[in-house]
């Protein structure tokens, strides 16, 4: 039987609430800077939660980026973010492309849940009103969930599988694990993996309607996202994209690529909405099993994990997540690693969260710091007994030895994804 290839990450790109590229994202994480703001549009629409995390890009910034790619007709902010992040990641990985050649043995899985928001709205207006809308013949392509992977393919010309995945909040993490399987089994050498979500308020309104979003913090956006806390009342929605180049170790070494970390593998599963699970809150057995199997698949044991980037959304789900981590990783006997929530700074970017937050994890691991989990204290009373207080940083831990890191994502539909990363120590 052929040995499986080892898999590494060689490029990163990000656009999110507190950073419009990898460097500014890293700075913001290190400085503990929130990207969450009060948005007047949400006030006008009378949303319960009027705070959100939107990438700090002007309409002009986005338009000139799209123009440079001859894609001025792209109305979906999610597609624009995905293209920005994808471009940054490919450049970071030093993968060249041109308009005539294919990139052989390279594919792309770029996910979303609601990138179609803006174009669907325009399409609806075209049908039901006299509103004049440009480029109606090309707009429908943005209403396809695969719009972002279609336009990434237009720019880069991948020769392998090119598609879009959707599994709600676990989308980005799931994409990385699908890439892991394809690459380790030798089906392909490289993949551009990521996910994106639009900043249209109509992406967020359904969550606002079901009391899933943050309540009572409209005057204090900087406090609104408080994962792990007793004060948490719901998530702060946000938008953006994260992109990663995932590659076989052999391919990376052969072309002298810079390697960030090794992707050791992980697990994707579901709680089936059975037992204590439902559409909106996961089955704890499913979470525990996902974590345990992820460790087994990655060949890692609990006491080797130095750092966990939680899903931790600032909702009631945080309690169940920490309980699951406690049981799966046996924190009764094994010292707990660092635990933080990037959502405390950027909010919940839904389908984009797994990608953006895995990038945050990689940046922290490589530079050896742990960003604060903002507003985590006072901890939720059901979380406090389960954790070591000094492992949930309130300020940046500026120097930390982080060999092995774990990312967990939990999505609507009771879907779970968990992956393990290891710092590459190559001479």
């Amino acid at each position: 039987m052929k040995a499986k290839s080892r898999v590494v990450i060689t490029g990163l790109g990000v656009v999110c609430a507190n950073g419009v590229n990898v460097e500014s994202f890293k700075q913001s994480l290190f400085q503990g800077r929130t990207g969450i703001e009060h948005l007047s549009i949400l006030d006008e629409l009378e949303f319960r939660c009027q705070n959100a995390g939107v990438p700090p890009l002007s309409e002009n910034d986005i338009q000139s980026f799209l123009s440079s790619l001859n894609l001025s007709y792209v109305k979906s902010s999610g597609i624009a973010y995905g293209l920005m992040a994808g471009k940054e990641a490919m450049r970071d990985a030093s993968i060249s492309f041109d308009s005539n050649q294919l990139i052989p043995r390279m594919g792309c899985i770029f996910g979303t849940g609601s990138n179609a928001a803006e174009s669907s709205e325009l399409q609806n207006d075209y049908i039901h009103s006299d509103r004049v809308i440009d480029n109606l013949d090309i707009l429908p392509i943005q209403s396809l969930a695969s719009g972002v992977s279609i336009y990434l393919n237009k720019i880069f010309g991948f020769g392998g599988e090119v598609t879009t995945n959707s599994s709600a909040c676990s989308t980005g993490t799931e994409g990385l694990l699908m890439a892991y399987d394809y690459i380790s089994e030798g089906l392909i050498d490289k993949m551009l993996i990521g996910s994106s979500e639009s900043s249209s308020p109509f992406v967020w309104s359904p969550f606002d309607a079901m009391f899933a979003t943050s309540q009572g913090f409209n005057e204090h956006p900087e406090l609104a996202s408080c994962p792990l806390s007793a004060n948490a009342t719901g998530f702060v929605p946000s938008a953006g994209a994260g992109a990663l180049v995932v590659e076989s170790l052999d391919s990376a070494l052969a072309r002298g690529a810079h390697i960030y970390v090794e992707l050791l593998g992980g697990e994707i599963n579901s709680g089936g909405q059975r037992k204590d699970g439902s559409m909106t809150l996961g089955n704890s057995d499913g979470m525990v099993r996902c974590i345990q199997h992820a460790l087994q698949n990655a060949g890692v044991i609990s006491n080797e994990i130095d750092f966990i980037s939680g899903h931790l959304t600032s909702t009631i789900g945080d309690v169940r997540e920490v309980q699951s981590l406690y049981h799966a990783l046996d924190w009764k006997h094994v010292p707990m690693p660092f635990l933080n929530s990037t959502k405390s700074m950027i909010g919940h970017s839904l389908s984009a969260s797994g990608s953006i937050e895995t990038i945050a994890l990689i940046l922290q691991m490589c530079q050896g710091f742990v960003h604060p989990s903002l507003n985590a204290f006072p901890l939720h009373p059901e979380i406090e007994p389960l954790v070591a207080l000094n492992k949930i940083p309130t300020q940046t831990v500026e120097t930390a030895a982080l060999q092995i890191g774990m990312k967990i994502s939990l999505g609507f539909g009771d879907v779970n994804a968990c992956l393990l990363l290891k710092k590459m120590n190559l001479n």
Binding site: G107, G113, L139, P140, V162, D181, Y182, Q273
Partner: protein, 433 residues
Amino acid sequence: MRRVVITGLGCVAPYGRGLEKFENALRAMTLGYHEQEILNGYKLKNKVAAIPTLSESEIVGFTDTYRLVKLRSSAILYGLMAGVDAWENAGLPIGAHTESDPLWRAGTIFGTSCAGVDAFCYNVDLARQKKSRKMGGRIAQQAMNSGISAYLGGILGLGNQVTTNSSEGNTGLEAILQSYYRIAFGKADIMLAGSTESSMTNIFSAYDLMKTQYGAPATLRKNPELYYSPLSNENNGFIVGAGSGALVLESLDSALARRATIYGEIVGAHLNSGGQRQGGNVMDINVDQLTNCISETIQMGALNGVNIDFVNGCLQSDYCDHKELEALSNAFEKNQTTVSYLESTKSLIGHCLSASGGLEMVASLLQLKNGFIHGTHRPLSIAPKDQDLLTQLICQMSDSSISAIPISNFLKVSFGVGDVNACIAVKKYIYES
């Protein structure tokens, strides 16, 4: 890589829900598309579409049984019907709701492009009027693109990977191939694989506006009974449909252990992209890459030098048809493979967009299992350059059904907007004594 077979089928085709209806219609070559009154008032130039016929009582009966409260998404409804039917067709039980563990080794990859649009537009209307609170708590799960897989996961109690893929016309076959890999790699034993698409009128309106890069409308503007014709010289454009097709994929070991009915074994699989280069584009195909996709599938399935009983083409009755035939021809020549019949299920059911791959695979498996070939509706004659290729391949695109013919294998090809391709080879499973 483990061996993978197909043990269950389910569908909601334009003719309605159920395999029997579908098979009867395919054999009789009943056209599933016609002018739809419901499309009046949507600024469409062409009001012909293939929309599934479901009675009010069928719908209410289903939503009551599965306690689907306030379901707004037609795509989720179709996908759930097809998915549940495939599961039951496979002889698999649906576990009691709260008590049981999920089925850890069973998952789903169920694709769609626009399933969320019905719920999304409802949400926008309310939110703009500052009445978000009226939409209730079940819109987010229907507006998100993964709604269909989430709902299926909850009804069937799936504990493995539960996700949705999207690649427009390539979605269905891609879901099946991704599921194939999940099982072949040993990560799951059973996968419900399929795809669905919404019949919301906005989708028909959107496609009605789409143009090819040659500036022509992508969809048909003429009477389909007279002009919807694969491989013709006229390339009139396609007709849009909706619905869902679903398969249960299973490891061979699991299927044999529970004595499941086996429709066929997946022996060849390939996914690739033309990169929108070398002749490819957002709305066009890179012939070399489609050729490679088919060729890799043939080689993986050890079908070099073998006869393929039929190819179920993508064949959507537009300018892509000829390129597809070129790619097939190149791939067959390269591998010294021959083929008896080429067919277009779209000629009967229209282009059901993301649902097409699922539905056309169900059609192909029914033909494999029950030994028939459905005819291709082709009111216009085949273009001379295409007829030449067919002659060279000694292949027929029969305009009438062949009701009793032994079938031992087939190949299915698909591609979608964005220049993405998929190909699968399926053989009848021979039980080893």
